[in-house]
Symmetry: C5
Subunit: 246 residues, 5 copies
């Protein structure tokens, strides 16, 4: 379950790392990918493990590992283009935080979705926040982001926050209302807009909404495999309250 | 199967550690959680393992690991808000006893339930006791607690006592009559009352009984997952007598 | 698959170790338990492993590990009150022989059963013998015990003899005609009588026969679990002849 | 998952290594085998692992390991005559690249197929290319080979390119349009022709086409087993676009 | 998957080791056992592993490990009386060759069968040969043994030859036409006769043929278990040709 990292370039000290890994509605990777393309970020690192399926990607004829980091200035984006099995989630979360710490990150922002049954009736999916440090929670609240108050969070973004908590690093999660089992570019658009207003990133999200149907079709296989991983990851706990606060 | 502990604060030397882990009727975590809230105990340590599902909790918007210890003065409470698979039970029991020993605990009290078929007809579930040391058994008897005489005990509380036995530490188990497969706040109330009279802890258990239906609904998922772990843990032995005393 | 031993007291050098582990008709643990009670043997050691189910026993309100050794003078009895899965059989057999050797045992006597289809018609189940050393085989024959001549033996008692063979220790197996899938106190009585006449142990076996039905009911769960382990342990080989002597 | 290599002879420094491992239409091993026979290459190394099935080959009565390397002058060919399970793919890919690097290879060319639904209507299967280094992509384009632009590649050839990418070695993949689940000598012929024109290897491929039906029947079992491995290797991702470029 | 060996006596330097392990028609162990009995060979070593089923054998009331070596003068015979699972085949093959090399063997002869559909019509099953070294192939041909020319060989005997190939030891396989799924003493008789004429071993094989039906019944269980292992061992490859020679 060991992960290897291959650095191509070093990010700027004090950078923020946005993390988008397949989960509810694939909103993490959709938003991460959109940011990378819109902001023209450069590929700076690969993550690799023998426990991943034997896959290589091609983009504009160039080979790419499916799990990698892009960056420019003080913004870096971690993206996985393949589903992560629950078995390797803990080691991946730790590898991400180890890499970020070693490279001098000032904070982590993990993206994901919250499944809502009436998603079809929602025009602008709301974004909820969660944060490890009190000052980050304060910052989110002041910026108008409602905080997740009680309950479970499951997946790589949950483990990323857990590592931040244990290692006392600034860690934020942003979760958009989303379809659970359908790729949801609209929810990803909400995440990107929120990132924009929180961190002053200027990106026009309208293309995400325009290509909704197209994206949905193209991501069928990734969604299918992600659904399987969510089933094994204790996602069902998310719809219940912890014993202590029941 | 290794467990990591993260200490936030040190308990007071000579403290007693109450252990509530999901099992019969979830009485352990329900009672543990009620004690933590009623006595306003402080979070003092996390337990973590890569063999646990990828979950993080939130309470009042603050992130929490699902397995942790609270304490104040000479009372500490260990609680797990997620089911423990039989595969990791031995290492968890050992991690609990190792942590308690290192921190200077004077004794362990593990909480659980004894399933009774006629639970529905019982107003005040009776609490049975078990103890590793003769003086603790004497203390329980004098306090009016009937001792478990013959039979098997299965689960994390059984392994916690086993570690106490092998390492010659004071270990007590308190087991309330309970529903096996339904969250049982009434049985948890009996445990809390018993703890109160045994150790002079002053807590009003009436809220536990009033919120019975509410708690039952909220803990559905945890109960469901706990039932699965009990099936794998040799719980069936509990309803038989050991060969030697047959 | 490692086993830990916890010694409470040391046996007398030159002691004989009787081994009773769940197998055909549970005759091993039934006979072992009867000897321990009849001869009033003292608990002297525990055997423990993380690969065993998470169980603790209680007897007269005292906690006990399910796998342990009793002894007095030159007689020790090893008993397991739970079924042993084939996966841990080799390490257990080795742990038994290592412990016995370290403590200065002069010989091992493993108890088990031979399933016979017409058991119901047999009043006094016959006891067969097997031994690693020629002098032990001679002793058995002289004492009127018919030796097992050709065939396979499967289970912990087979592996215990194997370790004796490889390490050149005196090892004997006594096998009573028994029901395969029903607890068989009558067969256990035959074993105890045989032990009595072979080693001058004076025990009245009539209680075993009188409590037959009672014992059978109490050991249902242990029998059920033992049947599963026998199915995985290559027991079927026992009803065939080895190729070499076919 | 360790691989052992047994060298019989050393290849010439600066050699190119062609890799043919069972995958889509078995085009890799069919082309590799045809090259070895046509160019009369010599056996120079074996690859072996305990995770492979217990098989030995015979050719002209001489025993051969199923995974091996042939070579002459500056051309070496790696061939596996048995299906590779996804579990051992990463270690095999790394073993190939480690061996090639140690022996002084100047580049790797991995052969495989791209399944096309209308294969039956195609007379001359087209060959697509992929390359790790820009100069190799340029070379392929100049030679009239269309590059694979967007998408996933799955299997040993994908992992071989990944290792080349990470270790900055020249790595090329050539992929012929092929039947997915039928051995496809016609597609293999296209690969051999392409290798011929790219690297000046002079081989007449007409025998491959003439023996098409014969080869298909003989390779049934290898194809059957390869289909199973492809199902587990995330091949389905290949028919979708990565999230980032959707 | 480690194997332990226990030596009782040392074979004579330069000895030949005949290997009979359960496979097609059980011809290996049947022939091995017949040789041991006919030539009155002495038990000289045991092979043991925790990955084998928990079995011990008895012959003439003496305990025996199921995997062992017999010998006298320059002839040794390795026999396994239980089926070998594919998972432990590689380590067993290596343990055999390591033991043989350490003891100074001059060559290995592995026995097995080749399943033929019309076995019932064959009076005298033909014996095919295979050998690692050219001089051994020459010897077989001169002695009138037809060599296996093209194809796969699967099982412990295949791996034994593979180890001989890799370590440059003289290794021969003799394979008799046989029933795949029925014990085949007739085929074993052919093997023994061939061994006789090749190495000047004088044995009358008529008892093998006379006890055919008896042996078949006695070896039912071993055959049943062997069939299962063959199914997992890639035996199906044997009925196809390698890609390279298709």
């Amino acid at each position: 379950m060991a992960w290897r990292t291959h650095d191509l370039e070093s990010p700027k000290k004090g950078f923020k790392l946005i993390v988008g890994v397949p989960d509810v509605g694939l909103v993490g990777p959709i938003a991460a990918s959109f940011l990378i393309k819109s902001l023209n970020l450069k590929l700076i690192a690969y993550f690799d493990s023998d426990d991943m399926p034997p896959l290589l990607l091609f983009h504009e004829a160039k080979p790419l590992l499916p799990v990698r980091v892009y960056g420019s200035g003080e913004l870096c984006v971690f993206i996985s283009e393949i589903a992560i099995s629950p078995r390797v989630m803990p080691s991946l979360a730790r590898a991400i935080i180890d890499w970020a710490t070693k490279k001098g990150a000032s904070g982590i922002i993990a993206l994901s979705g919250i499944p809502v049954p009436n998603r079809i009736e929602i025009q602008n999916p709301k974004v909820y926040g969660a944060a490890v440090k009190p000052e980050d929670r304060e910052f989110l609240k002041k910026s108008g982001i409602e905080l997740l108050k009680e309950g479970f969070m499951s997946g790589v973004h949950a483990l990323v926050l857990k590592e931040c908590l244990v290692k006392e690093i600034s860690g934020i999660a942003l979760l958009a209302e989303a379809y659970m089992n359908y790729p949801d570019p609209g929810a990803a658009a909400s995440l990107v807009s929120t990132l924009g207003s929180l961190f002053g990133i200027d990106v026009d999200v309208s293309p995400l909404k325009e290509q909704e149907e197209e994206i949905r079709i193209k991501l069928r296989e990734l969604m299918k495999r992600t659904v399987e991983t969510m089933r094994q990851a204790g996602k069902e706990y998310e719809y219940t309250l912890p014993a202590m606060y029941a």
